[in-house]
């Protein structure tokens, strides 16, 4: 599975959905993420750790805009320029991706999530 989910908390103790993404993300994986975000804790703070080499299938890319209203804020930690370019492009195709930011370190990402007024 390209997505691994884990419920955790931010340094300030806010509930957090931590996702580890790797390999090729298919539409089924993206839908599984959507189902997870649809759970009782809507408006999740999401921390996504995206491995180098992660790819997004075209159908998954088209599905991602559906997730925007399901999370409160999404911080993606990306170290690979290729993966970052892919996420940037998906964001551009979406038009707007409010409350989504890319980071290079987990600490920065968590600090941003903690600072979000959600």
């Amino acid at each position: 599975m390209p997505f691994f989910f884990e419920e955790a908390v931010t340094p300030q103790g806010k509930p957090l959905l931590r996702i580890h993404a790797r390999e090729e993300v298919t539409l089924a994986d993206a839908e599984a993420l959507g189902a997870r975000l649809d759970g009782p804790n809507k408006g999740w703070l999401v921390l996504s750790i995206v491995d180098r080499g992660t790819e997004y299938a075209p159908a998954a890319r088209k599905y991602f805009p559906n997730l925007q209203h399901k999370y409160g804020a999404l911080a993606a930690v990306v170290t690979s320029p290729i993966v970052r370019a892919a996420i940037n492009m998906m964001t551009r195709l979406t038009g707007q991706a409010p409350n989504l930011r890319l980071f290079t370190t987990e600490d920065e990402a968590l600090a941003w999530l903690d600072a979000m007024k959600i």
């Binding site: 075209p58 890319r61 320029p81 290729i82 370019a85 940037n88 492009m89």
Partner: protein, 206 residues
């Protein structure tokens, strides 16, 4: 914003664009971990090629669906034409009438014969009236086909009557040995029906 890039990347980008413009959407730029703005462009080109392939597949699927629908409509049209060209009518229990209209070629004659014989068997018909009034041009195979139809009807135990025979058709019938076939010929369809009903003892005063 200034950007310094390796000329090889620009060449590769142009090669992929040229290939795509020629209809080859399977080409992809090989992405390298270059942390620059051109990587965004390269990624965008690859995304665009993915999209083009998806749309081409979608278009092909739609085209196939349209072709399937067109074939089904053509088949339904053929079946309708077939039904309209062989309107076998039960004018009395056990008495069938087939008004032949238009040009009768070998193919149509074979289809008519098959349909007619099926009805004769299914309805246990005792009489079949073939009305030739509306038969237009007679191809070389028409009269033999009609005579074969008459013989086949006889083999099923039914009597065949021909009506509406024009003089030129009559000559063709004689030339083809139609006189040797046991078939009653009458001027009009109504005459044939009256004759059949008389045979059955159903017509008063005959």
């Amino acid at each position: 914003m200034s950007l310094t890039v390796d000329a090889a990347r620009i060449h590769e980008l142009l090669d992929v664009l040229v290939a795509a413009a020629a209809g080859d959407y399977d080409v992809r730029l090989k992405l390298r971990e270059n942390d620059d703005a051109l990587l965004d462009v390269e990624t965008g080109v690859n995304f665009l090629l993915d999209e083009l392939i998806e749309r081409r597949l979608h278009n092909e699927a739609q085209e196939e669906e349209l072709l399937t629908r067109a074939r089904r409509l053509a088949r339904q049209r053929d079946e309708l034409m077939q039904a309209l060209s062989t309107p076998v009518i039960t004018v009395w229990p056990g008495v069938l009438t087939l008004p032949l209209v238009g040009r009768v070629d070998d193919e149509r004659a074979a289809a008519i014969t098959a349909g007619l014989l099926a009805r004769v068997g299914a309805e246990r018909a005792s009489h079949v009236i073939l009305d030739l009034t509306g038969v237009g041009a007679l191809t070389d195979g028409t009269m033999p086909a009609i005579l074969r139809m008459v013989r086949a009807i006889g083999l099923l135990g039914a009597t065949c009557l021909l009506t509406g025979i024009r003089p030129d058709v009559a000559q063709q019938l004689i030339a083809l040995g139609g006189a040797d076939v046991h078939v009653r010929a009458l001027a009009r369809l109504s005459d044939a029906l009256a004759s059949v009903l008389a045979d059955k003892g159903l017509l008063q005063g005959t």
